[in-house]
Assembly symmetry: C2
């Protein structure tokens, strides 16, 4: 039983406005949406009524009848700090500029949960941006809902979808060349988690770069998981084994920072004794003087949104199913070269 002491501030509907302005709902709709075939007097009356009733259109109803929600679903893995914020911020900026909203849904490595998350977005988003580096190609294909425009970021290829990819091999190649050029020879790669596509490409890129630019040199890989502690553990392992190392190529910045800290705590000078490099160029890297390659995460997110919106608003164009590669740029800082005063 509804016992409302005061009058309930239930939002006005378009029919309330129509009644108040003594016109039909069609005229209200036309007036509010700026259609041309509305008499100026009618439009004025409608606008006045809408304002006086505090009418705000019901976006849900609107998108149901238009089959257009002006929202973009974003499905990301459980990302850490800066990585997450940079990407989302780039997306948000671009989406906002085009009048779109972002509907977020995190997903935990599991492909089944990812599929679940994507399904639950049917009917509330116009398109999807999916980042699933840890899911294999067939798993991804099964999880992706059909019939909704989708952009993939750093995920396995899926036929017919647009994609944004970081050129991991080129990035690692630049790192390796830089280290070799500065005289380092005994390089070790601290890899990312198995099953992650970026981690895999960086590992392969490392081995390929070594084979190409320093044939004959041994190239070692230590397993990691993209987390800071993995970098520390990798250094501990190397020290335990007493192996000669003068360069550590981490698969991402956080592991590089872990390694950096462990090296310094062990009394080894960076970069004199050992050089350290990362990957991604999170903001933290600049503060810590970490040499790395810059990915421009925000731009990648923004670009993904821009392409998706373009595909949404010009469906006539080709399906946009191509992959755009972003080439990361080398950023040399003090973990590989002496500080030179600016």
């Amino acid at each position: 039983m509804r016992e409302e002491g005061v009058l309930k501030p239930a939002s006005a509907t378009i029919r309330d406005v129509a009644r108040h302005a003594a016109v039909s709902v069609a005229s209200v709709s036309r007036a509010l949406n700026g259609h041309s075939n509305v008499h100026p007097d009618t439009r004025a009356r409608v606008l006045a009524s809408a304002k006086s009733l505090g009418y705000v259109p019901h976006a849900g109803a609107r998108s149901l009848s238009l089959a257009r929600s002006h929202a973009i679903g974003v499905v990301l893995p459980d990302l850490h700090g800066e990585f997450f914020s940079e990407i989302v911020r780039g997306m948000d900026r671009e989406a906002g500029a085009h009048g779109y909203h972002l509907l977020l849904s995190n997903m935990h490595a599991d492909a089944e949960l990812a599929a679940q998350a994507m399904r639950s977005m049917r009917g509330r988003v116009d398109g999807l941006i999916v980042m699933a580096p840890q899911i294999d190609a067939t798993g991804l294909d099964e999880a992706l809902p059909a019939g909704i425009p989708t952009m993939l970021i750093n995920s396995p290829d899926s036929t017919g979808r647009g994609a944004m990819r970081v050129d991991n091999r080129a990035g690692i190649d630049a790192i390796v060349r830089h280290l070799l050029a500065s005289g380092r020879r005994a390089l070790v790669h601290v890899a990312g988690p198995a099953g992650n596509i970026d981690a895999r490409e960086r590992r392969e890129g490392f081995l390929a770069a070594m084979a190409r630019h320093a044939p004959g040199q041994p190239s070692r890989v230590i397993e990691g998981n993209f987390r800071e502690e993995a970098g520390e553990r990798a250094v501990a392992t190397l020290l335990d084994e007493g192996e000669a190392v003068d360069g550590i190529v981490a698969a991402n910045d956080m592991m590089a920072l872990g390694a950096l800290q462990a090296l310094r705590e062990a009394g080894l000078d960076v970069p004199d004794a050992v050089a350290v490099t990362g990957f991604d160029d999170v903001p933290l890297a600049r503060y810590m003087g970490l040499t790395t390659v810059r990915v421009h995460l925000a731009d990648m997110g923004a670009r993904a949104v821009a392409r998706l919106i373009d595909a949404l608003e010009h469906p006539s164009d080709r399906p946009g199913g191509d992959t755009e590669w972003l080439t990361p740029t080398l950023v040399v800082r003090t973990t590989t070269t002496e500080r030179t005063d600016p």
Copy 2:
């Protein structure tokens, strides 16, 4: 392995399922939503049809008829890096755990745009989380849509809304006491932007703490804007004037880091010559050894979501219009005390 016979691009609706299973839409709806009054045979037939058609319920339509969207609108100012990601992550975690989505909308300092953003969420979210530290109380009251449950974060009070607030005065008080206890006397506060409620409270907190704990000491305030450069500029100003200073109390971490860098470039030792403190404890602060107060941003976001969802699902309870204060905790690092090996 499934054969792709006829490729049906348009998604199936509940009526398609009903036709396929030779039942009414009502039965399909009941079967899929687990109502009890459905014959087991019917339910099985419906589920089979739904699966074979690849049916996924249309969330938009569903929320229209249920007047429930299971989405929470999030309106944030244009936040920087870690601050943004920490809060959003906390919210996302909590929302996901309760089966809610987050609908993001950035807003640029302008109150009018904020109002716009909130209005555009009518009908697609069940509740709103708003963080508007830069809008004054009356502006906020006008912008907030009526009739939708709202939680405020670090915003001016608005009657009848729940709120989460950081106890800025307590945080600054702890900082000031810590500095005074370590023998510093000539403290300077680098303030945040005018109009920002957190900035204002921290400034007032600084003056109050100085008056209380070090009466007679001069207490100076330099204007800033929460950005790194403002910290650098503040130091430049102090050096120009040749004023004696042994402690800089920045209104947030980024300005503290800017000041830290400027001091070191000027050849002044931190903490020996000058101590530096921040506010927020962004992850970066730990790496830079910055003494600060920790706000637990993620927890604040999560708590805001939890309270909002609670209010949504138990509307019978009291309107939840009270303010929850989070007391930040002092984190002492090397910018105020000598490094002692851990």
